[in-house]
């Protein structure tokens, strides 16, 4: 089955880890993930600047490794990311900000990508809140 997975929570939220474990289990079960889409505070889960405490799971780093190793399509909503300070090199330059902090493997794009994924997928699964 084809899944689209949307995440709306920051990496320190249990919902971010839950989405990641779900995505791993979906692949392990032989399913396909057509796209990961991060929206609202979910954009922080694609930040390369997160430094998790040593005794806590580094969910943002795990996300970045996961999409690279599984070669997944990872899209972060550009409007939500700008508002929350997660920028790729192009946006950082365009807006004169000091530093690009979008993690490897992610791409900033628009909400159309969420709808495109929802059209291609059999199920859209959203994770958010706590």
């Amino acid at each position: 089955m084809k899944f689209a997975i949307a995440l709306f929570s920051a990496p320190h939220s249990p919902a971010s880890r839950r989405a990641l474990r779900f995505a791993e289990a979906a692949l392990a079960g032989g399913h396909e993930i057509v796209r990961l889409f991060f929206y609202q505070d979910g954009v922080h889960s694609a930040s390369a600047n997160i430094v998790a405490p040593q005794d806590e799971l580094d969910t943002a780093a795990e996300w970045s490794h996961f999409i690279a190793s599984a070669q997944l399509d990872g899209v972060v909503c550009i409007a939500a990311a700008l508002r929350r300070g997660v920028l790729d090199a192009r946006e950082a330059e365009r807006h004169g900000r000091p530093a690009a902090n979008l993690a490897q493997g992610w791409e900033l794009s628009g909400l159309g990508q969420l709808h495109e994924a929802a059209q291609q997928a059999d199920r859209l699964i959203c994770f958010g809140g706590h």
């Binding site: 929206y39 609202q40 409007a79 628009g110 159309g112 969420l114 709808h115 059209q119 859209l124 959203c126």
Partner: protein, 119 residues
């Protein structure tokens, strides 16, 4: 045939970007001519109260975004009767106009859509 999506908006208009970001999903879907429904639930119904003005909070109110819905072809708008009553809005003229549904109507509405995003 395109898959339909119901967006359930549960955020108040003044609690941060949540309500606007839910509307943006609906508007983006409308721009792609997708079959989109929009349900105002819980604090989301506060977006429909008349006479709000964000200038005092140095915030743009949602009026323009709500008006844009019909321009983008998003005209399936619903609100929860119970949510309106709990907030003293049972007898208030709402803008834009929405179809008001009871619990059974809401359950049926959700089951008519292929996908649901609640936020």
């Amino acid at each position: 045939m395109a898959r339909s999506m119901l967006i359930v908006s549960r955020q108040s208009p003044w609690s941060g970007p949540g309500a606007r970001e839910a509307l943006d999903i609906a508007l983006a879907g409308g721009a792609y001519d997708l079959p989109i429904g929009l349900l105002f639930l819980d604090d989301g119904v506060l977006q429909l109260a008349p006479g709000q003005h964000g200038a005092t909070l140095q915030q743009k109110d949602l009026t323009a975004n709500l008006k844009a819905l019909s321009l983008f072809g998003v005209d399936k708008l619903y609100a929860c009767a119970r949510s309106l009553a709990d907030r003293g809005l049972a007898n208030t003229a709402l803008a834009p106009a929405v179809e008001i549904l009871d619990a059974q109507g809401l359950a049926e509405l959700i089951n008519r859509y292929d996908q649901v995003i609640t936020l």
